[in-house]
């Protein structure tokens, strides 16, 4: 069953619209350190003096320099390299600012190189299907784990743990043995597992992935990498995590601004800007533009219960994007059509909307909303497809 699903994973879609943001490796490792999960010594690069200091700290002239990025394949992109302290500065300067996955590298991490006896893969994720923590582990770590899952499905081990259960070392003895740990390394492993699950619980992490988890020749188990995904809904109670630099870096400036205003906004590269409410309808709005021969310039979901201000803000954000038209598409449930209409009118008073705009407004308080628009000389559509056709016609003219 596993095998069947692993062909073309690289391009797998897991919604661009989710609120499950990733941390930088170095931020993940800060959380590891807080939770006493062993990591190599590490330090953020600040200037050349930090390199000298770090070399002293680790008692070695050789260190890893790792560009911090929210997308993978850093190794292949030449963004991770083992360097001597003499080479480090030049190498780091060469990668700082380099584009990776559409973002410039802004942070470089210095790390103690490790001697490796064996590499493991380890992940704790909050599993959507079961609603439990799912632990995934393999003794074939350090490589593309998805290929391992495809080629050696029997060497991928899984264990579920209810979220309400307090984790203890004994719960992970079986798993540790399957991975081949024994004696002292077995207890090290079960302790690390316990800490990982506790960290996930206490810090509202939806994924903690370590690949590779390293066994050193002197039988220490160390997390050599970190991939940590947080739960955006928990920002209010994980204020320090929400403030990590990666949380700003994962957005374009406009996206970040929208995010701060509680709006889900993703920049795309089409011609028509959209404003909608509800992820499903917003996606369907993008879809219908494509199907009808145009393209969305963005995904924008004001979220449930949006008020006038959010509508105004959405229009303001679109006004700063290079677009040919705006398609406002609401089927209001918890949001109210009069709020949407009022927001549009308010916005149009504050700044000029220079491109054609088509508004489709149905649902809660739609009569009131339509009335507000009509009072301002704007016609509202009742159905999505005719409205979509209209905005495309306005944008593309007679073509």
């Amino acid at each position: 069953m596993l095998k069947a699903h692993f062909k073309d994973l690289k391009k797998k879609v897991k919604s661009v619209f989710n609120s499950m943001p990733m941390l930088y490796e170095i931020e993940g490792k800060q959380l590891f350190k807080e939770n006493k999960i062993p990591t190599p010594l590490f330090k953020a690069y600040t200037d050349s003096s930090s390199i000298i200091q770090f070399a002293e700290e680790i008692g070695s002239d050789v260190m890893m320099a790792k560009a911090q990025a929210l997308t993978g394949k850093r190794g292949k992109a030449g963004l991770i390299r083992k360097v001597s302290s003499a080479e480090a500065e030049e190498y780091i300067q060469s990668i700082l600012g380099r584009d990776h996955g559409g973002k410039p590298v802004e942070i470089v991490m210095l790390e103690q190189p490790l001697e490796i006896e064996k590499e493991y893969y380890l992940a704790v994720m909050l599993d959507n299907e079961s609603g439990k923590y799912l632990i995934i582990a393999s003794s074939r770590g350090g490589v593309d784990i998805e290929e391992v899952a495809e080629n050696y499905p029997d060497e991928i081990f899984k264990q579920y743990l209810p979220t309400a259960v307090e984790p203890f070392s004994y719960m992970f003895v079986d798993l540790g043995k399957k991975l081949g740990f024994e004696a002292k390394t077995l207890t090290s492993f079960t302790n690390i597992m316990t800490k990982m699950v506790n960290m996930a619980k206490n810090r509202d992490l939806t994924l903690v992935e370590i690949n590779p988890l390293i066994l050193t020749p002197d039988k220490k188990i160390i997390a050599a990498d970190s991939k940590v995904v947080i739960d955006g809904n928990s920002d209010y109670r994980q204020v320090d995590i929400a403030a990590f630099k990666s949380q700003r870096a994962r957005h374009t400036d406009l996206e970040f601004e929208a995010d701060q205003a509680g709006i889900s906004y993703v920049q795309l590269d089409g011609e028509i800007g959209i404003i909608s409410g509800g992820a499903g309808l917003a996606m369907a709005t993008c879809d219908i533009l494509e199907f009808l021969g145009s393209s969305p310039a963005n995904f924008l979901d004001v979220g449930g219960g949006a008020d006038e201000t959010k509508i105004e803000k959405s229009l303001e954000i679109l006004s700063r994007q290079d677009i040919k038209g705006i398609f406002v598409n609401f089927f209001a449930g918890i949001t109210r059509c009069d709020d949407v209409a009022q927001g549009i009118i308010n916005a149009s008073k504050v700044f000029e909307i220079k491109v054609p705009i088509v508004i489709r407004l149905v649902g809660t308080n739609d009569k009131e909303g339509i009335q507000i628009l009509e009072n301002n000389g704007i016609k509202a559509y009742g159905e999505m497809e005719p409205a979509a056709r209209k905005i495309i016609e306005l944008v593309q003219g007679g073509n």
């Binding site: 690949n211 992820a279 918890i334």
Partner: protein
């Protein structure tokens, strides 16, 4: 008959005196839902919208024998409110609130399972059995009574589909908005099974989205156990590839998260899939 809710179901609104609670409780009452009580701690003993307000769910359930509750409470207090509803002995718990920490949702879900409570949501529009009762925020006027059952992961998109059906004289038995969060209460399969067993329901519409594996599991179930015709629409068909939940997510979910893949699997299970929501009524009418 419909599923999950009929004209007799007694409903308590948690957070009834808040802005959203007030607005939507009013709309539920106007629709004919038996809203028998509201709960807002510290406001017990008052009346709001003509409904008695209690300080706790326990009191409200004891006084009214209600079996359902709907939560309009800010995300950070939803966990406690949901546990309170379950502790008070409710059978059907609907969580409208958006932005609930997923770990909280996971724990509510577990507690609901342990107590045989049907949980819908969070971050969902709720449910409606047209002309009988609605719990949540689905606009009542777009619905009409009939024999199409709808189960959806999307909120607003569902309204779209309901409206298209209503315009085309295809009434609905029950519409269930499951909610868009990664961890939620009941899913497609629970609803498919209920619709299969509901005499009123003759066709079933499934509305999915990219991400997750609920649609694939639904396909499995439909192939094996559902005899009624099923139609499906998946939002996000043109969405660009985005971030995934690490390799762990890939190991668990494989490539099954794309709209294209979901539609392929659903089609293979004998489900009629459509590209735009407006096609659904046409397809249903073709088959009638």
């Amino acid at each position: 008959m419909a599923i999950l809710l009929d004209e007799n179901i007694k409903v308590i609104v948690q957070g009834i005196t808040g802005k959203q609670g007030t607005f939507h409780a009013k709309s539920m009452i106007e629709y004919g839902t038996k809203v028998v009580a509201g709960v807002t701690p510290g406001k017990g003993g008052k009346e709001h919208l003509g409904v008695p307000v209690f300080d706790s769910m326990k009191e409200a359930v004891e006084a009214t024998q209600a079996t359902a509750s709907v939560i309009f409470i800010p995300a950070r207090f939803t966990y406690s409110a949901a546990l309170e509803a379950i502790d008070a002995g409710i059978d059907l718990l609907t969580v409208i609130t958006e932005g609930v920490p997923v770990q909280d949702s996971a724990r509510i879900r577990q507690k609901a399972l342990d107590n045989d409570v049907v949980m819908v949501g969070p971050n969902c529009p709720g449910l409606i059995s047209p002309e009988a009762s609605k719990i949540g925020i689905i606009p009542g006027k777009i619905c009409s009574k009939g024999n199409v059952g709808i189960v959806s992961r999307s909120g607003t998109l569902t309204y779209e589909i309901i409206q298209n059906l209503t315009v085309d004289n295809l009434g609905q038995s029950t519409c269930v908005g499951l909610g868009g969060d990664p961890i939620k209460g009941i899913g497609f399969n629970e609803c498919l099974t209920m619709f299969e067993n509901d005499p009123q329901t003759k066709q079933i519409i499934l509305v999915g989205e990219i991400g997750g594996t609920g649609e694939q599991q639904a396909a499995d179930l439909v192939k094996k156990e559902i005899t009624k015709p099923v139609y499906a629409f998946i939002a996000g068909q043109t969405a660009p590839p985005g971030k995934q939940m690490g390799h762990a997510g890939a190991i668990v979910h494989g490539k099954s998260g794309t709209a294209k893949e979901k539609m392929r699997i659903l089609s293979e299970a004998g489900i009629t899939t459509v590209k735009t929501s407006s096609e659904i009524p046409l397809k249903i009418k073709e088959n009638l």
